[in-house]
Amino acid sequence: MKIRIALLLPLLALVALISPRAFAVDRTLCVYDPIGRAGDYYRIMEEFSVAAAGWGVSLTLKAYTDEETASRDYEAGHCDGVLATGVRLQRFNRFPSTLEAMGALPTYDHLRSMVDAMAKYPSAAARLRAGDHQTIGFIPVGAAYLFLQDRSRDTVSELAGLRVATMDYDKASPVMVDRVGAIRVGADLGSLGPKFNNGDVDACYMSAGGYRPFELSRGLEPSGGILRYPLAQATLQLLVRAPQFPDDFSGESLTWFSEHFDDGLKLVEAIEADIPAKYWIDIPPDRIAEFDELFLQTRLKLRDEHKAYDTHMLSAMRKLRCSMDATRPECAEGLE
């Protein structure tokens, strides 16, 4: 028996030698998904990891339900990449985060075109890198809408005096809130729902995905509504330390996310369709211009005074808006 085992040992050693893991590179990604490992965005990242394996990179995904912790862990070097919202990753590179600029992309078609353009044009891809940090993917997570406790206050002038919950880490919303003469009330993801539902604030902004988990119907009853005009397009962005990945990885990745844009969009559309129709407030076409002007002035202030928005991205988005609708007043002005 001892002899048989002795004969097997070299064979086992050979098996160990010929079955190494097939990847050239092993990397870890911190993945934020509000639902965690069971969430839709984590699932999209699992699909991405299979594609990445085909490009020679083995990705270990680490789920986070807290976005700030995910981005901090990336910063601390606990992972080689992070999936988080653009606004959260603003400090690494303003160019991709400006995709979420206030009112810059009025529809999901606009957003899709921008994501496609960034995958297609080298001029954009170059700006997606800042130092070692490179943005290599975008997933739509839904437009942020204004939730109002009083649906009758649906014009720009009527927003004056409202108490509006603004996220502590968001630089853009306080500027808009100040501009319309509303009152800022600081909040975070944990306190936003309770503040709206308890009447501590009159309005808050959020993607449709927050409607059910935070039971925002409680704050919307009896006479509230949701302005159906995107304040901003929230995206999850994949940011990596470029030197840790093969040279052609970012291009492959941007293309992959561009091709899978509609996977994320389907989820968004399903969640938005789940909100009862009675809550939606459609802005009449003749009043949309006043919101567009508010958003434009807010963007300019954030670009020029707060240095929060990237000039090139704002300009690209204006070109896109004007290519899709040349009658917009801004197309002649060219302020962005």
Partner: protein
């Protein structure tokens, strides 16, 4: 020998009467104690999966045997959940090897389908719960007679689990995302002491899932740990299983590692509630799956022992080194030799 075939035959007779309340009563008084005492999740899930349609046929319109169906659909969900777990492990194993990406993709698709089926069954359980007792977490608590607390508890667990499986399966069912909030409030309706502190654990788990849901000053993860710890001595360690499930989902590796070790130790040391062995075993399987997943990602195979982590530090060196100094297994030290005489100095 199991009494389940006899139970199934008796069921058939009962179903012929077409009285949903009788079926509910029989389920609660005879089937639940039988299946609950049996620590065999496979058989319980097979029974649930096979009886679901039969039970549903006993009712007319709104008058269905909802209590029986909460139990049947939840246990049926365990089958599909188990299939999803196996596919998930297979995908992880194949990813570890990295030499067959289409097979990884195939395993992932299989996993998603099983998640979707689990979501369907768990959602059905939740819907029967709501149909029988009314909306969960709003208004006064329903009156829970006898052991109905377990039905309420399982139905709520099924609701949260339906949501998680639906998202993992692609969200095709659109399970309402406000179920965790409702469940957090609904757990107040179930006696915590009687049901192994599972209501407490479930409440804390729901708080941990949705930011801002916990009362001011309450840290959900600390609360979940307290509830899980309290469950250890009850014989049904559902609290630990829930802790592992929710912490793993949130990527809290340290919490998962702690809970796995604690769960394994409690299983070794703690009592078993023979009346509810099924749920204790199910809790063990929830934790075991997570341990298997950790091991497969790290080493390419399942765990041999749930309480040992793949990245556990090597055992410390024994100190002091018993072999320091003379070799205890070597030849005895040579006797001191006399120095050779110097011929030149020898007189």
């Amino acid at each position: 020998m199991s009494k389940l075939p006899a139970v199934a035959s008796a069921f058939t007779v009962l179903l012929l009467c077409g009285c949903s309340r009788t079926v509910d009563r029989y389920t609660m008084e005879r089937v639940v104690p039988q299946a609950g005492a049996m620590g065999d999740v496979d058989r319980a899930c097979a029974l649930g999966a096979s009886m679901g349609h039969v039970l549903a046929s006993a009712g007319r319109g709104d008058k269905q045997p909802h209590l029986a169906l909460v139990i049947a659909e939840t246990t049926a969900g365990f089958c599909a959940e188990g299939e999803a777990w196996e596919a998930e492990l297979e995908a992880a194993r194949l990813m570890f090897r990295g030499d067959d990406l289409p097979a990884v993709q195939d395993a992932r698709i299989r996993e998603a389908r099983a998640h979707a089926q689990a979501a369907q069954r768990f959602l059905s359980s939740w819907e029967h719960l709501v149909a029988h007792y009314g909306p969960v977490g709003t208004g006064p608590c329903p009156e829970l007679a006898g052991d109905e607390g377990i039905v309420y508890l399982l139905g709520m667990y099924a609701g949260v689990n339906a949501l998680l499986h639906d998202r993992a399966g692609g969200g095709g069912l659109g399970v309402p995302m406000d179920i965790p909030v409702a469940v957090a409030r609904g757990t107040e309706c179930v006696d915590d002491e009687q049901w192994w502190h599972a209501p407490w654990a479930m409440r804390a788990a729901a708080w941990a899932m949705v930011p801002g849901m916990a009362p001011e000053g309450v840290e959900p993860w600390a609360e979940l740990e307290a509830a899980a710890l309290a469950s250890e001595s009850t014989g049904v360690r559902l609290g630990r299983g829930l802790q592992v499930l929710v912490a793993a989902n949130a990527g809290r590796d340290a919490d998962v590692a702690h809970a796995l070790v604690a769960h394994a130790a409690a299983n070794d040391a703690g009592p078993v509630d023979s009346t509810w062995a099924l749920l204790d075993e199910y809790s063990r399987l929830v934790s075991l799956h997570e341990a298997d997943l950790m091991w497969t990602a790290a080493k390419g195979h399942r765990c041999a022992d749930m309480g040992v982590l793949p990245n556990a530090p090597a055992r410390a060196d024994p100190a002091p080194d018993p072999f320091a100094g003379d070799d205890p297994f070597g030849a005895p030290p040579a006797p001191p030799s006399t120095p050779p005489s110097d011929p030149e100095t020898t007189p």
